[in-house]
């Protein structure tokens, strides 16, 4: 218990003293004999972009899925708006206002933008699809996000560029009064111009007061948008704090060795063992 409180003090030093929207405390997760996460703490404050970094296999995806309701942690507690919560399914996550944009975007190519944005949550009137109000609402969401490069929101997603598809997937995620958006490698497959579009979109989400977590390998992108940075190394959260406390070199060191500038692994209790 005292350990957890200490961890809390430690982690929230960069959080402006405000209660973060989502707090993870001591999250453990193992799959069979493989331990994927060791006592991970993470704060995701509203109105800030948190960049989650880590090498392949560091546990970024598992951590994301624990928040998104795909996996349940073995130990540890998730607090949402200060309340302890159990997220058992994607539906639970959506009910809290947590939406995830996976790397593969999960868009149906043959459906148009409006149909994709409302997929699974269609509006009905007289038991038929209420296309008009869905189109109006989708258009509003896109325009608040300044997604302006699509010719028509009635064009099939197949005809969109990679950046536009990412924008549609993000718009789909934020349309439901969501408070926290998790973006898994949002710029991985994109060119320079499209990456810029998506990063601008991420900043706009932050400006609208949402908590955003961006999972990325690309440190350029992370330093461009992130207000806070968290680094996972072999399932442990080895560093977390305001982006200003980091530089490119220290993040790379944390990602590759779990420490930077000779500092020891931060969660001291679990530092021994494999490395």
């Amino acid at each position: 218990m005292t350990e957890m409180n200490e961890a809390h003090e430690d982690v929230s030093r960069g959080g402006d003293g405000v209660e973060p929207l989502l707090k993870l405390r001591g999250i453990d997760k193992h799959f069979g004999p493989v331990q994927a996460l060791y006592g991970v703490d993470l704060d995701l404050p509203a109105g800030q972009v948190t960049g989650l970094c880590g090498d392949n296999g560091a546990g970024k995806s598992v951590l994301t899925r624990c928040i998104a309701g795909v996996h349940q942690p073995d130990h540890g507690q998730i607090y949402f708006e200060g309340q302890p919560v159990h997220i058992r399914s994607a539906r639970d996550a959506a009910a809290l206002g947590i939406e995830t944009v996976y790397q593969d975007l999960a868009l149906a190519d043959n459906l148009d933008i409006v149909q994709n944005m409302f997929l699974g949550r269609e509006k009905l009137s007289h038991r038929l699809l209420d296309e008009d109000s869905m189109e109006t609402q989708a258009a509003q969401t896109l325009s608040t996000l300044h997604v302006t490069t699509v010719r028509s929101i009635r064009q099939p997603v197949a005809s969109l560029s990679g950046g536009q598809r990412q924008a549609v997937a993000v718009a789909k995620a934020v349309m439901w009064n969501s408070k926290l958006v998790l973006l898994d490698e949002p710029t991985a497959a994109l060119g320079v111009v499209q990456t810029r579009t998506v990063l601008d979109l991420v900043k706009r989400l932050r400006d609208q007061g949402l908590a955003v977590m961006v999972i990325s390998h690309n440190l350029n992108d992370v330093f461009e948008v992130a207000d806070r940075i968290a680094v996972l190394y072999l399932g442990r959260m080895v560093a977390q704090g305001p982006a200003a406390d980091f530089n490119r070199q220290s993040v790379v060191e944390y990602m590759t060795t779990g420490s930077a500038g000779g500092r020891p692994l931060e969660p001291a209790g679990s530092a021994s063992g494999e490395g």
Partner: protein
Amino acid sequence: MTADASQTPTGMPDATVVTNVADAPEVAAADVPPELLADSLRQYVRAWWLRVRSGNSGVLPVVLAIVLVAVIFEVITPEHAFLRPSNLVYIFGLSTIYMVLAMAETVVLLLGEIDLSIGAVALIGGVIAFKLVQQPGPDWPWWAAILAALACCGVIGALQGTLVARLRIPSFIVTLAGFLLFSGILVVVLGGADGTVGVNSSVANQRVIYDLVQGLIVPVVGWVALAVVVAAAGAALWLRAAGKRRQGLTAPPASVTAIRIALVALVGVAVVLICNGNRGTSLVKVEGIPWVIPIVLVLLGALTMLLQRTRFGRYVYAIGGNPEAARRAGISLAAIRIWAFALCSATAGLGGILLGSFFYGQYSTNTADPGQVVLYAVAAAVIGGVSLFGGRGKAIHGVLGGIMIGAIAYGVSLLSLGQLTTPLQYILPGGVLLGAVLVDVQSRRGTGSVTGV
């Protein structure tokens, strides 16, 4: 055509648009329905032509192909008999089974699955309905017999769908097994290899089933019905498009809506004119619209409504386009798949009843070969423009493809080629099918290669 962004239609008030048809990357534009890119007739035609070139243009190619086939047969048949009203009406009756089964198959093809059993299931449905109105015998009212037959077929479809959806056995195998199984059961239901069942057109209850294809609507009633349908459909189309435009939503240009309504009216008038002419002799008059035309139209309307305007339809398209996306959206893939197979088989059952009626109310083991029927039905759907890869196509494509198949089959038989007739009845649709699949594959490839902002 100017580059003025305000010209381009969009639902977004301040989402201005970077491009219009003129400077759009062509591959991407080819995927976009023309009404989205155009608010004048000229832009519409231009956008439409772009789609045609990419092999992705809705019903027009198959309509043009049907016209082409009709013209060719008219020219080469002896006495230029192909376009005689009696032949045209007969072709529609002959095509009914293909049209209805192609519509049924469309539902399953949209999921990215296939149902090879619907030929046998359709015939079973027909035989069940015919058996149930027999007198002496069950003597059920005609509507109860039809409903029971459709329900039986629906259950068969649901069972096959369950195997596909729950156990994830490929639908090709499940329904191939189903095709063999139900072809055998069909013979049993008929009462042996030389079994027959027929409806007696002199019994009022059985007469209704006999009339489904053979019955004729009094010419005056035909005209009145046409006027009502065109007025209602035209008003609905126009008001819907006008309402969308008023709200600033995506809608085709007014001129395009007007042209569409005019085309519907024109086709309707042509059909009624052809059907209401006397196709018999001066002594025995045969005139009027066969019942089967409104029946097919109602089925087409119902399926179109279901696929385009309901959640079920949307989910069918979503599963065909990206099953993983549908699953993550909380859609129950298994439930939708099972219902789709049930719907497909029930629709096929209706086709079987109409087939019996087309053969003057007689069913025997020689009436139709279930294998040939289902292969023609799949071919009809694909020729009409339904994608074999799932997610693309509409009920209307099944209807048009069915007409194409019927027109070719009957046209060849008119040529009096003797020995060559039967081979050509297979070879010609085969060639057309191959062409249609090439277009399908081509347009699919086109959508995969879209790049650029």
